[in-house]
């Protein structure tokens, strides 16, 4: 009878493991069935399975599941207002962040949440489920696009008469356009440029036209500024704001600004072995050698990203009394203009059952949210108007250091829309190719390898990435 006992035992063990698996599934199911617009944190993605049934429920009520990593007040308000205007639609917001964000020690938990958010959303999307509408932050939008997991919004925009492109900053809107269509629309964008100490520059008497300057012009201007021996030793310091970066960061940010020049994503070709890249490297090195670029302190210009009208004035105020926003230099072949980055990019799941409703809500979001620099021109002007009426800005205090409120400079503020209109180049801030560029240039700057050797190495690795 020993045998029977063993069999019973092993059967019991197997049943136990199976039960453990299925119980896991049922708990996540419980989370999904939570009703209403209340946030369902934790399991993003998994909800999509249920939304199919809910979307088709008997009374014709549709549910749009909208997933975003960061909780967003604007999304909540828009969802509420939209539900009131469309009683047949329910919008369910889900967030990837499990706890409220706090500065102290929240970082690790946030990283874990991001990982959980991306992996579970990836799995759900690949399985043809997932949320109907996605805020693509932290998600691999390019990969989704390549695998046709996102709805083509280009044809949506073309086919929808109520969608009027002139209401938006068209350059920014087209920025996400790839050869196969457009798969996400930004609700907001940021401008990347330089804040310059206008008074100090005027004192040196050096003149330039930042709306049209190329890197060569910048070099010439830079040498003149250094020769004038004015207020600062250097013209520009690598980094963002007061965060000083190294030479590798400098290269990375220039390549990011001119990504299309070195990497052709369409035909999967990199051209880092071209003389242009080697000469760019040499140019950057000579900027450091000539003192145009400094490695500490600050210079006449500071790299800055403008996230919102308020941020624009705060940055200008923080870097000096008499400052101005300048457009970054561009490569010879590129169009002159500000470089920008899209933010709050929203995509529609190609496998969603409520695509039409999701598209309608996406349009609503574009017209009724005001995040950072809004893509909608009217909301943009509203945001500026609000700031003007407010009169003063109290900058966020850093390290419990009290920062004084300052007056809103209407004249400066009026120029902001001009910069937004001039937005011409989309920055590509992330990506494996950029990481490769940043990681391999050090040997050149320390003088251990020639620019051509480094360029060849970068080309070698970049092609491996692009050929996959």
């Amino acid at each position: 009878m020993k045998n029977t006992g063993l069999i019973l035992l092993s059967v019991a063990l197997i049943v136990l493991t199976l039960a453990a698996c299925s119980s896991n599934r049922s708990t996540s199911g419980n989370g999904d069935t939570a009703e209403g617009t209340g946030m369902v944190s934790g399991q993003p993605g998994t909800t999509g399975a249920n939304s199919d049934e809910e979307a088709m429920s008997s009374n014709g009520k549709k549910t749009i599941v909208f997933s975003s990593f960061w909780p967003n007040e604007q999304y909540e308000q828009a969802a509420k207002a939209y539900e009131e205007a469309h009683p047949d639609i329910t919008i369910k917001l889900q967030y990837g962040l499990s706890d409220e964000y706090s500065d102290d020690g929240g970082g690790e938990q946030t990283d874990a949440d991001i990982e959980k958010f991306t992996t579970s959303t990836n799995a759900a999307m690949l399985a043809g489920k997932g949320p109907d509408l996605l805020d693509l932050r932290y998600l691999a939008a390019d990969d989704y696009e390549r695998h046709h997991l996102l709805e083509d919004l280009q044809s949506r925009m073309d086919g929808d008469k109520t969608f009027n492109k002139t209401n938006y900053f068209a350059n920014v809107l087209d920025g996400g356009n790839s050869e196969t269509g457009q798969f996400s629309l930004p609700l907001s964008f940021s401008l990347s440029g330089m804040v310059g100490d206008k008074a100090a520059i005027a004192a040196t008497g050096v003149k330039f036209d930042d709306r049209a300057w190329t890197w060569d012009d910048f070099m010439t201007t830079g040498r003149e500024l250094v020769a004038a021996k004015g207020k600062y030793d250097a013209v520009i310091v690598s980094g963002e704001g007061y965060q000083v970066g190294g030479k590798d960061y400098f290269v990375r940010s220039i390549v990011a600004d001119n990504y299309g020049r070195f990497v052709d994503e369409t035909s999967r070709k990199a051209s880092f072995d071209s003389p242009a890249f080697a000469s760019l490297l040499k140019q950057i090195k000579s900027m450091y050698d000539d003192g145009v670029a400094g490695s500490a302190g600050r210079g006449y210009f500071i790299n800055a990203s403008i996230l919102s009208p308020e941020d624009y004035l705060t940055s200008l105020h923080a870097f000096g009394d008499e400052t101005a926003f300048y457009v970054k230099p561009h490569a010879d072949e590129e169009a002159a203009g500000t470089s920008f980055e899209t933010r709050a990019d929203i995509g529609i799941n190609a496998n969603s059952k409520v695509k039409d409703a999701a598209w309608d809500f996406l349009k609503y979001l574009m017209d009724h949210t005001s995040i950072g620099l809004p893509i909608n021109k009217e909301r943009f002007q509203d945001a500026i108007q609000v700031l003007k009426e407010q009169g003063t800005i109290t900058p966020p205090s850093i390290d419990s250091q009290y920062s004084k409120p300052f007056k809103v400079d209407s004249a400066q503020l009026d120029q902001l829309e001009g910069f937004a209109d001039a937005a011409a180049r989309k920055r590509n801030e992330s990506g494996k190719v950029l990481d490769i560029v940043a990681a391999n240039t050090d040997a050149f700057f320390t003088g251990q390898k020639s620019a051509e050797d480094v360029a060849r190495l970068i080309q070698n690795k970049a092609m491996t990435v692009l050929n996959e």
């Binding site: 045998n3 092993s10 197997i14 399985a127 390549r146 190495l457 690795k461 491996t464 050929n467 996959e468």
Partner: protein, 292 residues
Amino acid sequence: MSSRWLRRLRGDGVAVWLFLGPSLIGFSLFYLIPFVLGFYESFTDGALGGRFVGLNNYTDLLHSASFRKAAGNTMLFTAIAVPLLIALSLTLAVLLNRPLFLRSWLRTSFMLPLVVPVASVVTVWQIFFDWNGTLNAWLHELGFARVDWMQSNWSMTIVVVMYIWKNIGYDMILLLAGLQSIPKDYYETASLEGAGRFHQFWHITLVYLTPTMFFVLLISIINSFKVFRETYLLAGDYPYDRLYMLQHYMNNMFFELDVQKLTAAATLMVGCIVVMTSGLLRAERKFREYTE
């Protein structure tokens, strides 16, 4: 429980299944079923319930220059590293098979790399072979030009050395066991009849070691596919293109959610390994029949 059931349960077959069961379930659950699912996926155009597209994914895969490079690198690595490893471990085994000073200590020391965790060793190797690392510092002091070990064609050499270092002890033990199973009389008879050292090695040792050799060859080839772990830890997900192995490709495809190319590549690789192992096993059988 009826008596018929009990009778059936007492049979031998049940015991076999009972012992095999757990490992069979584990193997199916974690290897076989996922692989079969992946095999199916490799013929469809989307994950889970995509359309059947025939060999499209395979043509896509073969059109990817990075895949071809990866496959070439993996083959090159196996072709260089495995013969070298076997030659070296055979030499060691023969040397350690005779009375030698500190023999058991030497044997143990060759086994050590097998038990040392890879991650800890890789850090040392990284520091050693870095562009600004120890080896280049020595070269510089001796007046030679330094070499970018990890970012040039030298990188393959380094991984070959690492592979040999890691696996030589294991292969040596296997070959030692094989050597000790060869009867001593053969050598005695041979030397009585005037056969020299070389003759003995060539006509006795190598011949009687061949079955072990087949096994060692198989294990070494399989281990050569596993060198990815060391390479990945040493050089990251995009190493110099000489080092870019099939597993790098698959790993990167996984992170890019490209299930189609990933499964197609895995299927091709498994196909190649199966063909190679069955070829080896057949050769071994032939050899056995021949010696008997």
